[in-house]
Amino acid sequence: MSTVDQFESVFKAAAKTIYLHESPSFGKVLLVTDMEESDSTLYLNSVRKYFEKTLLPGETKWQVLSKKDFQSVKELLGKVEEYQPDLLLTYRNLRSESWRWPYSLGEHLDVLTQVTTTPVLVLPHPDRDDASELLEKSPEKVMAVSGHMCGEGSLIKYASAFTPKGGKLLLSHIEDKVTLDRYLDAIEKIPDIDTDVAKETLLARLLNDAKDFAESARSSLERAGLGISVECMAQLGSRLEDYRKLIEEGEVDLLVMHAKEDDQLAMHGMAHPLAVELRSVPILLL
């Protein structure tokens, strides 16, 4: 070990990003529905009950937008701007009939999740046969679905806020095998890079960065005394397939993921298919 680059690599690996916990505030929550006012009130009650352990009655002020309050996406955005909520609550395919088909979230949600900076919690559509059943039991098991995990502090901050005392928070990261294989394939064709060293170390490095950050989050949440159990998981796999399997087999009650991507206008590459396909799981989109 005798070059600047080698020592720099060691120090860069040592300079870990750590998670510092701070609880988000949900002083104002705005529930957006496309129901008549009376139905909206009933729906509000069931939603409040569903989140009674995390959005505490004394700390959260609830407001409702019903069918008559907005006619278009533009009007909805205007209302959100006017209310300035800390959290938006709504359901899939708002003001759309297409909730029966698992191909989109509907135009209102597509725009809402990208335009506002407020987190949007998306519930299953209320017209589903199992809708009332899905909102009966408060979420106990929350999963944070990360892109890199390392440095995604806001993801953990919100995921921990929605994990009730005694509940379980899963910090998950799946490194995409297809992408990794493509890079390793390119490395195999570069004479200056040792292929064996790259194969041995690249995946380990990627997973270690995620594990280290998740571990620092676990310690920080423990120190914060939230009374939740935190489990960290980082593995190689097929992102969509493996996440689907993890969510279904782990009976996850609530997913938390980033919806925005800096370099594109559409929803985050991983968030979109999960949000569209897992129609019975509530998802908090940041």
């Binding site: 070990m1 005798s2 070059t3 600047v4 120090f11 040592a14 300079a15 870990k16 510092l20």
Partner: protein, 440 residues
């Protein structure tokens, strides 16, 4: 040859090749003019055995080669234990992210690493950590100041012990200065020069403490993310590396007092410790052989061959005669003038041939060679080390610091370096002259 070495970067040639070609020419001319002792080296009798050696072999100081080879291998293998990076990261955390405290701790670390390891390795370790930690602390605008001060401190730290730099090894060995005596003589100057350099660096580059509580908390949280254990592959080897480093320094310091070992010398000590450390990597030891600085080692072998020919050709006597006016200045002004002249010469060319040549010349003067405490030896030691702080090509470690500066996209030309470094170099040289006059 000295001119070509000064222009090494311009002519894009490694120093081993430059000196190698000059050694070929020198040996050829030496043989042509019957200057070389062919008869003596072909009829050597050692321990009752007649040994025949090529004429260019006895001129090489193999002890110096063994010290450099052994200690660089030892440092390279020990660095794999994560020991040096552990110390570096621990000190970073100790600073709590405060820039001034970081400058002081990194400065002290540079001096100590330069003394214990070598100044190039010290600059590589501290320089690469500085780049990473200042970026993490969002203080990248201070990088130039940090790297420059660290580069200058490597040459101060290189003065601390007999094995800290190659000029020390060459001059110290020729003068017969013991490790402990060297350390006791050089340490007070190193402490004073380090403090002054850090003070001046903090003033000139405006590196101060954090002001608000918010800034302090944020910096503390950022450095808390550093994990000192990241570079440690095996805790057992880490502990072994730490123990062996202390034992190595102790053994080097005590070599002249240890029976048997004192006969075998420092080169044997360095090579033995390198061998012991390599046992951990016995199946891949060849990987470490590849990282040895063969350019430096071949440079030394060829350089000694050239100087040997110059000695036989009485060129060194001629240069010695040129030095006589300096010697004639007296016991105070003479060493002071030699120190400044050595520094000036070292600033534009490699300080190793200069030190080797001056050591040979001084060694041939009976009144100086018989006195290890002669101020002339120390004038050459101080001058050849401190001269490296005047220009970026004055020493290998300042060159490394400039390389790191350029790596981070910061602009610093040759003239720009001289302009910034000159106040430090003048103060350090002035301190050196005063110190030499007071202590000898």
């Amino acid at each position: 040859m000295i001119l070509c070495l000064a222009l090494e970067e311009k002519i894009h040639a490694k120093k081993s090749l430059i000196v190698g070609l000059f050694s070929v020419v020198a040996l050829f001319l030496g043989a042509w003019f019957n200057l070389l002792p062919f008869t003596d080296v072909s009829n050597l009798v050692i321990g009752g055995h007649k040994i025949s050696l090529p004429v260019y072999i006895p001129g090489v100081d193999w002890e110096v080669i063994a010290i450099i080879l052994g200690s660089s291998l030892f440092v390279d293998v020990t660095s794999k234990s994560g020991l040096f990076t552990w110390v570096a990261v621990k000190l970073t955390k100790l600073s709590s992210g405060d820039p001034l405290r970081l400058l002081i701790l990194y400065g002290v670390m540079t001096v100590v690493f330069s003394a214990v390891l070598n100044n190039v390795t010290a600059m590589i370790i501290v320089g690469s950590l500085t780049g990473v930690s200042l970026k993490k602390l969002n203080q990248s605008e201070k990088l130039l100041g940090f790297l420059l001060v660290e580069g200058l401190l490597t040459n101060i730290g290189g003065l601390l012990t007999l094995i800290s730099s190659v000029p020390n090894i060459i001059v110290g060995k020729t003068a017969g200065i013991e490790f402990i005596d060297f350390f006791l003589k050089a340490a007070p100057y190193v402490v004073i020069a380090t403090v002054v350099t850090l003070w001046l660096g903090s003033r000139l580059f405006k590196i101060g403490s954090l002001k608000t509580e918010e800034e302090k908390t944020s910096a503390k949280n950022l450095v808390a993310g550093f994990d000192e254990n990241e570079g440690i592959e095996s805790p057992g080897f880490f502990r072994f590396g730490a123990i062996m480093t202390f034992v190595f320094i102790g053994t080097v310091a005590m070599t002249s007092q240890l029976p048997v070992v004192n006969e075998l010398g420092l080169g044997f000590v360095a090579l033995s410790f390198a061998g012991i450390m390599l046992v951990r990597y016995k199946s891949v030891a060849d990987r470490f052989y590849k990282t040895i600085d063969w350019d430096l080692l071949f440079f030394f072998v060829c350089l000694f061959a050239v100087i040997n020919v110059m000695e036989h050709a009485r060129v060194l006597n001629l240069i010695g005669d040129w030095l006589m006016p300096i010697m004639g200045l007296g016991d105070s002004a003479g060493p002071a003038a030699l120190l400044v002249a050595s520094a000036a010469a070292s600033s534009v060319t490699d300080n190793i041939p200069l030190a080797a040549m001056l050591a040979k010349i001084l060694g041939a003067m009976p009144e100086i060679s018989s006195n290890p405490d002669s101020p002339y030896w120390w004038a050459v030691i101080f001058g050849s080390n401190l001269g490296g702080n005047i220009t970026p090509i004055g020493s290998a470690s300042t060159l490394v610091s400039v390389t790191i500066i350029h790596k981070y996209g910061l602009k610093l030309s040759f003239a720009g370096f001289v302009k910034v470094a000159l106040p430090y170099a003048i103060i350090q040289l002035a301190l050196g002259v005063v110190y030499l006059l007071i202590t000898t």
